[in-house]
């Protein structure tokens, strides 16, 4: 039987629009079923997790909401709370400068803050390669500027120290054509000689002509979060070149050099940082020439630098080992000597591979700077445990203080770790 169009009651001429998916296959309900209640055990786990979150929030929210931000002592705080549960955050608002700067003279907080802000300007070109390379000049100047801002004293000391570096660099440039290694040694020696023999006399001579100076601040007055930053940043900057040298030494064919590096690295990695800090606080003074008086901060920086350098060397060794053998052979085949091939071919690639682990070391180093509170330096934990918690006004306000310190570290360390992941993504492009 053939149907003519007239016999058919209805013919659809256009396609139907797609129907919305059923409620259980899309939208929030689907998401809930897929991610939270996919099976009975999963559902139970979700409920347990929800209960834990609920009890955490019930405990914490009133504590923050009732928090007292304006009080002069813990008794005042308790009177204001009047039996209610709440944090006494007034200790933070009152002792905030102490947490940041320790016993730094309060009229000079501006100097320390300026050094802290400039630190980020100096770090920016190192962290982000998109920024103009000319900013690196400021990065080079920053250590001297920061020293002058924080410790004060005559401006000529950091200027002359900088001159010593420039002198060393000039010597290196003059000799670099003949032998890279010899030029490095000669440059360092020139700087050292300049610092040891010329800085003192030149400083007094120049100060007599033009006395530009800031008020001097003693090292023992420096404390709080500031000291964690000083120790972390300066040790890291010093440990990187030392770590590269140790890693190269450990990979070298020369047995004596290799043994020295291996023994050093394994020794440092085998002992806890706290014993090295004990060495800095009680033992290092014995090993220095009689009569010399090294600052405690300097001694601690030396020991933390040695500590970080050993770990750094292992990270860089990983990078060196990851390079294919062909890269070394390629360098040799075009007639480069050891230092040339290291400088131009091997190290740029090896350092790039080891950047994530170097950043991790920087992170743990920054956290480890809190250990100096155990050798009675007043870093942020030392300030909390010492002057603040033992004062009659704030005896017993430990929660607020430790959580604040933890939050400060979290902000910076989480930032560093996120940066490290960004760097990994950025550098992973050529190694798919």
């Amino acid at each position: 039987m053939v149907h003519t169009p007239e016999q058919l009651a209805f013919v659809r001429t256009e396609t139907l629009p797609a129907q919305a998916p059923p409620a259980t296959a899309a939208g929030p309900v689907h998401w809930l079923r897929a991610n939270l209640f996919s099976s009975i055990p999963q559902g139970i786990m979700t409920l347990i997790a929800l209960y834990l979150i609920y009890s955490f929030l019930v405990a914490v929210i009133p504590w923050f909401a009732n928090g007292v931000w304006d009080a002069t002592s813990i008794r005042d705080c308790r009177e204001q709370l009047d039996g209610a549960r709440g944090g006494c955050f007034a200790v933070l608002s009152e002792r905030w400068p102490q947490l940041l700067f320790g016993n730094y003279p309060s009229e000079h907080y501006g100097r320390a803050t300026l050094a802290f802000v400039l630190l980020f300007v100096a770090l920016a070109p190192l962290l982000f390669s998109e920024l103009p390379r000319k900013m690196l000049w400021f990065t080079g100047l920053f250590p001297f500027l920061a020293y002058w801002l924080i410790w004060g004293g005559s401006i000529w000391v950091p200027v002359l120290a900088l001159l010593g570096v420039v002198l060393g660099f000039v010597v290196y440039q003059l000799l670099a054509d003949r032998s890279f290694f010899g030029a490095i040694i000669a440059g360092v020696a020139a700087s050292m000689l300049f610092w040891v023999y010329l800085v003192g006399p030149l400083d007094s001579a120049l100060s007599a002509i033009a006395n530009i100076s800031l008020d001097k601040v003693e090292s023992r007055e420096i404390g709080g979060f500031m000291i964690n930053f000083i120790l972390g940043i300066s040790s890291m900057a010093l440990a990187l070149p030392l770590g590269i040298a140790l890693a190269l030494g450990r990979q070298s064919d020369l047995p004596i050099i290799k043994t020295i590096c291996v023994v050093f690295i394994e020794f440092i990695r085998g002992v806890p940082l706290i014993t090295l800090l004990f060495v800095a606080s009680v033992m290092l003074a014995y090993f220095l020439p009689p009569g010399s008086n090294f600052d405690l901060i300097l001694r601690v920086i030396i020991m933390i630098t040695l500590f970080a350098a050993a770990y750094m060397a292992e990270a860089i060794r990983g990078g060196l080992a990851a390079l294919p053998r062909g890269q070394y052979e390629a360098g040799a085949s075009i007639g480069l000597d050891y230092w040339q091939s290291m400088r131009l071919i091997i190290l740029p690639q090896a350092l790039k591979i080891s950047i994530p682990s170097i950043v991790n070391i920087a992170l743990s180093l920054f956290k480890d700077t809190t250990l100096v509170s155990i050798i009675s330096m007043f870093d942020v934990l030392g300030m909390i445990g010492g002057p603040i918690l033992s004062s009659t006004a704030w005896f017993g306000v430990y929660w607020e203080l430790y959580i604040a310190a933890a939050a400060m570290f979290f902000v910076f360390c989480y930032g560093i770790s996120q940066y490290s992941q960004y760097l990994e993504r950025k550098l992973a492009t050529d190694r798919r």
């Binding site: 020369l254 002992v271 706290i274 014993t275 033992m283 050891y338 992170l363 809190t370 360390c413």
Partner: protein, 404 residues
């Protein structure tokens, strides 16, 4: 670095020490060695001059003198008239105790968190990643101090347990959480208890033998034994039988409130608990990341293959994925165990008497022998680090993929 491609030279000239790559390596090494010897000579001569000026010498004799201080947690008996040497050993044992227990707890925390962080449950995975990020990004010293302050300040004092209507009460009448530590029942060993313990150890060995035999039976004949019920029976029955046969030689000494403090039972000090929990939770977060990375490194085809064989998700994890992930996670975990052991030296911050607290703390301060004490301290940590990495490397070699 010497290259073997240089043409052979006829006679040796002094300038070849610097210019000939065959000899230059030796020149550098000799220079480096001389520089090192010179540095050490300088440091040591400084030390000798300084010590002589102070009228001190290097002498380990102080280890034989009476210590004169008490140690609040002792695994071997110690009184203040014992020597500094014995105090150091008590400290060593305390360090080892917290390090070993810490490694065990950190591993448990790390594996659980690492697995849960990959859970398909969004909420659980998020909570675990928040835990990992918070613990990894805050210094361990702050965690130790926070946990210690919870122990010391947030828990009730023993006085709160007194009276007819006390503010605090004991858990199951056996556990008391106080600001002086946690009191738990202490086992009392009477005559014959050694036999019960012996039977218990024998039954543990028997369980392992049973599992081996069951696997052998499964592989050779395809027969499956009910391993779990048999193991449970082996675990409980012989020991219970021996326990009652010997006339119940093991009993528990419950802590009880006497006067203003608890008597009896075992007192676990707040300082120990703070150190143990904080180190475990901190290191556990790092181990969790290692575990997660290792699990992700097992290719998805492995778990899909296991699923296609009909294994349940739990068994896929325990039989297929975790054994393969184990190989990947062992080397990074070794360094985490080392870190935990070295971080246990932070005991000084909460007054836990480990080796840093006894030898590097009170002994050092009392005798003034900083040189000797710090050298011994470093030697101990070095030895322990080398031992741990040696043992763990042996284990690593035994489980790693045998490439042929």
């Amino acid at each position: 670095m010497s290259l073997a491609t240089d043409p052979p030279s006829q006679s040796f000239r002094l300038s070849m020490l610097l210019n000939d790559t065959r000899y230059r390596g030796y020149t550098f090494q000799v220079i480096a060695l001389l520089a090192l010897v010179a540095l050490f000579t300088w440091l040591i001569s400084n030390a000798i001059t300084n010590l002589a000026a102070l009228g001190q010498d290097i002498d380990f004799g102080f280890l034989g003198q009476p210590a004169g201080y008490d140690i609040n947690q002792q695994l071997i008996p110690f009184v203040s008239t014992n020597t500094h040497m014995r105090a150091a050993i008590v400290g060593v044992l305390n360090t080892l105790l917290v390090a070993i227990l810490g490694c065990i707890l950190a591993t448990i925390v790390g594996v659980v968190v690492g697995v849960l962080r990959l859970s398909s449950n969004w909420l659980v995975a998020k909570i675990m990643s928040i835990y990992v990020e918070i613990f990894r990004n805050v210094p361990v010293l702050i965690w130790i101090l926070i946990v210690f302050n919870v122990m010391a300040n947030a828990l009730p004092s023993p006085r709160a347990f007194r009276g007819d209507d006390p503010d605090a009460s004991m858990l199951f009448n056996a556990f008391a959480f106080t600001n002086r530590g946690v009191y738990v029942p202490k086992p009392v060993w009477l005559d014959g208890s050694s036999i019960v313990v012996g039977v218990f150890i024998a039954s543990i060995i028997a369980i392992f033998a049973l599992r081996r035999y069951a696997r052998h039976l499964l592989y050779s004949q395809g027969r499956e034994l009910p391993v779990l019920p048999l193991s449970l029976a082996l675990f409980f029955l012989p020991t219970l039988a021996a326990f009652f046969a010997m006339g119940q030689p093991i009993s528990l000494d419950y802590p009880a409130l006497k006067g203003f403090n608890f008597q009896g039972g075992l007192q676990i000090r707040g300082s120990f608990l703070a150190l143990w929990l904080a180190l475990s939770l901190y290191t556990g977060a790092f181990i969790a990341e290692n575990v997660r990375g290792a699990i992700l490194s097992v290719s998805k085809g492995q778990s899909e293959a296991a699923a296609s064989l009909g294994l349940r998700p739990g068994r896929i994890m325990s039989l297929v994925v975790l054994p393969q992930a184990l190989r990947v996670m062992i080397p990074p975990n070794i360094s985490q165990y080392l870190n935990l052991t070295k971080n246990s030296s932070l005991a000084a911050a909460v007054g836990y008497m480990d080796i840093t607290g006894t030898l590097g703390g009170i002994t050092l301060n009392q005798t003034g022998r900083s040189f000797e004490a710090i050298l011994l301290l470093m030697g101990f940590y070095l030895a322990i680090s080398l031992a741990i990495s040696g043992i763990m490397n042996l284990y690593n070699n035994s489980v790693k993929l045998k490439e042929r």
